[in-house]
């Protein structure tokens, strides 16, 4: 019905609308009081930048509209990229931004999830990571508390720790790069890990011939030519380069089973934050993997959270939290209404230092942000 909105019957008119508007205003006032500048990104976005960050899968999740000339535009599926683009254009650093507005998500036929809902968010760029993480977390928690959900269920994680572990495990750089590239696709990541740890497969005849020829690009080129005319933009030198990479990989020893198991075990850690920190430190040490700086960042974040009145040591920690959301690469958290499985998380956020480079920036940009779903928050208090 056109008077309804996500999670709220009749939320677009009368008292229900006024109550939601008041809640939105409180959340935005909280963010602005924390030094955030209000921004209003556009709803429509050129396809290229978003596809660069999210990949082709985005088309299954976001609505598109077409310009008269056929160019494709996306209705923003979230604010992260739009706000970062505003920030990169404004060249202000450090900076804090707050925003409020609808996002649009394509849902599977028959899904009860909303295709349009509000997000109220804050993004912090370029500040000390531990302090900024703690600020964003504490502000988000306050937004829920003051919005009428005093004790949300919380889960936290730290994808930066897993990435640090991946960087510390001994393996060829090409394999590490492949695992990093697929970090946010858990199944593919695991399949790669298995492939690298297993004895190499017997090569197909074509592969055997290619490996034999790999040291001489001219021989690879001759093989390619004999197989068929080269069509498309991928050139023969790319085929030769991959043949060389395949030969290099074939010469690699298998990834040590204990290291593959270490990554799996680290991803499975689930404990109160202080215990998780200790467990991960023990695991890394036992595996001979130095991840001191990442552990320090974790500890400093817990201190910063404690300083803001959060019972940080006992925060539930699950290492793989939000791993299926591409781009998070550090602290992550989600806050849910207790006993309301009908509602999505009321809030969530995390650190995504790496996105700026995906958007073409020269260097990573320290960035952490979070969103509150005001409609779900209001529904949770009804």
């Amino acid at each position: 019905m056109t008077v309804d909105r996500a999670y709220l019957a009749g939320g677009r008119i009368g008292e229900a609308r006024a109550a939601l508007a008041a809640l939105n205003a409180r959340i935005m006032a909280l963010f602005e009081a924390a030094g955030a500048m209000r921004v209003e990104p556009t709803a429509l976005h050129a396809a290229d930048a978003l596809l660069d960050v999210y990949g082709e899968d985005l088309r299954g999740r976001a609505f598109t509209v077409e310009e008269p000339d056929g160019r494709e535009l996306f209705l923003r599926p979230d604010f992260t990229v739009p706000v970062l683009q505003l920030h990169l254009a404004a060249r202000a650093a450090p900076a804090r931004y707050a925003y409020l507005g609808p996002v649009w998500r394509r849902q599977a036929a028959g899904s009860a999830r909303p295709t349009e809902y509000l997000q109220a968010g804050i993004e912090v760029y370029g500040e000390d990571p531990a302090e900024a993480d703690a600020d964003v977390f504490a502000l988000t928690l306050r937004a829920l508390t003051e919005g009428g959900v005093p004790a949300p269920e919380i889960v936290t994680g730290d994808l930066g720790l897993i990435i640090a572990l991946l960087d510390a495990v001994p393996m060829a750089q090409a394999r590490r790069a492949a695992l990093r590239r697929h970090f946010w696709r858990p199944r593919r990541f695991h399949a790669l890990l298995e492939r690298y740890a297993a004895a190499p497969l017997a090569p197909t005849p074509v592969r055997a011939a290619l490996l034999a020829a790999s040291a001489e690009p001219a021989r690879v080129a001759a093989m390619a030519e004999a197989a068929g005319a080269l069509v498309g933009a991928r050139g023969v030198e790319e085929i030769a380069a991959r043949a060389a990479a395949l030969a290099a990989d074939a010469a690699e020893p298998p990834l040590a089973r204990e290291h593959a198991a270490l990554l799996d075990a680290a991803l499975a850690v689930e404990a109160p934050a202080a215990d998780a920190h200790a467990a991960l430190a023990d695991m890394a040490a036992a595996g001979g993997c130095a991840i001191g700086p990442a552990l320090d960042r974790f500890a400093r974040r817990l201190d910063a959270l404690t300083a803001r009145g959060v019972d940080a040591a006992r925060l539930p920690f699950r290492a793989a939290t939000a791993r299926n959301l591409e781009y998070y690469d550090g602290f992550v958290f989600e806050m849910t209404a207790p006993d309301r499985p009908d509602l999505p998380p009321l809030a969530g956020g995390g650190r995504y230092d790496g996105i700026a480079t995906a958007l073409g920036a020269a260097a990573p940009e320290p960035a952490v942000g979070a969103i509150v779903r005001p409609e779900a928050l209001m529904a949770a208090t009804c």
């Binding site: 596809l51 299954g60 399949a191 592969r207 197989a227 005319a229 080269l230 069509v231 991928r234 991959r242």
Partner: protein, 233 residues
Amino acid sequence: MLKLGLPSKGRLQEQAVETLAAVGVTVGLAGREYAATAAGIEGVEPVLIAAGEAPRALAEGDVHLAVTGEDLILERVADPRRVRVLKRLGFGHADLVVAVPAAWVDVETLHDLDEAAAAFRLRHGRPMRVATKYHRLARRFFAEAGVADYRLVDSQGATEAGPKNLTAELIVDITSSGETLRANHLKPLADGLILASEAVLAVSRAAEWSSVARLALNDLGARMGFNAADAGL
């Protein structure tokens, strides 16, 4: 009346008409008009529709039943609750495959393709382009296989020529014998079979089902060997 969508032309139409004739339903095709008649059965009105239009006609409830390709049903019916496959018909076989240039001697599997795609993006500053009209099926297949760094490019015809015309690096398309792929210097990937498709009889759950239409459905089911209850009407 039960509206039965039949392919509007070609080999698929001939085979659909033969299949019906084998169970005593004689379809009369009136020359160039998109109208047809059915004899030998009560309450069935054949309607000729382009194969590509059948999924939409089923989903909208414009026809009760239709003979069309399984590939088209899976690609074009957004809400699987509205359309069900009642029977696979054993003709119109075609494989939906991922095909790359045959000269790519280093790419035999999806794993190879994914690695090549990563290197391609670094070198060219853009993702590999995949020409296809099967957007939904291709996207789902690549997501499940963990292939990243590609971009779909819409191609509604002569898809195999995409790489040769430099509008794509690879394709996702239907092939029956592999002839057209070879002629366009392409080869299917060893694990790149997305769907082994064939012609199917599909039912619309969105259509208005009169008692006459239901009786005709039961009659067709008894003759063709499908369970009319599978329609879940």
